[in-house]
Amino acid sequence: MAAVGRRGCTRGFRGGFTLTPLQIFILLFVAAGATGVVLTRDPTSQAIVVSFYGFLLAIMFFIFQAPDVALSQIVVGAVALPLMILLALARVKKQQRQHDKSR
């Protein structure tokens, strides 16, 4: 163990691509999707964008051979999360109406 340096784990690796082009493409797409989620400032549109982003992540999990995690991500990130965001926004809008009325 003492002889294993900082690069010890990579010593046996001899080079060559470990990722297929499909995986590279989906990774770049996920990075672009995250940038899109952050740059969308209005929360109502952001709920739709985050649903699409969750679906993209699920596709990435499928491509990287993780079907169980992909199922979980679909039901959570594309269904449950945008639903909760939209319901919270609807409550905020209602409270805003009441707040403006009572001023």
Binding site: L19, V38, Q65, S72, G77, M84
Partner: protein, 114 residues
């Protein structure tokens, strides 16, 4: 190019952090927090993946063939569950903050007193 998943994970973290620090709406902040959490999924995915091996479901493939790491995928499942609980609780808190203060803007919250 072999380190692209790690680079994407770092990028997701930084982009989400940018969204959190420059946010003008509490709900937008919660959603950017979920982007930060998704960076940990990409990192765990990259750690668990093995080139050329199938998924760890032995229904169709012969039991005993080398497959992708299932322990790391179980960690990712826990991660996803924790994400939804954290975001649910944060959204409920944001709604309550709006009820008390009348605004969802983080920088205006200090000015309005009860």
């Amino acid at each position: 190019m072999n380190y692209l998943p790690y680079a994407v994970a770092a990028w997701l973290f930084l982009v989400g952090l940018y969204g959190v620090t420059t946010s003008r709406n509490l709900v937008h902040l919660c959603i950017c927090l979920s982007v930060i959490q998704s960076s940990s999924y990409v990192l765990l995915l990259a750690i668990g993946y093995r080139t050329g091996r199938p998924a760890p479901i032995f229904k169709d493939i012969k039991p005993g063939t080398p497959a992708v790491d299932p322990v790391v995928q179980a960690l990712m499942l826990t991660d996803i569950v924790v994400e939804v609980t954290v975001i649910a609780l944060l959204l409920a808190l944001a709604v309550q903050v709006h009820k008390r203060n009348g605004t969802l803007d983080p920088s205006r919250l200090n000015e309005i007193k009860g």
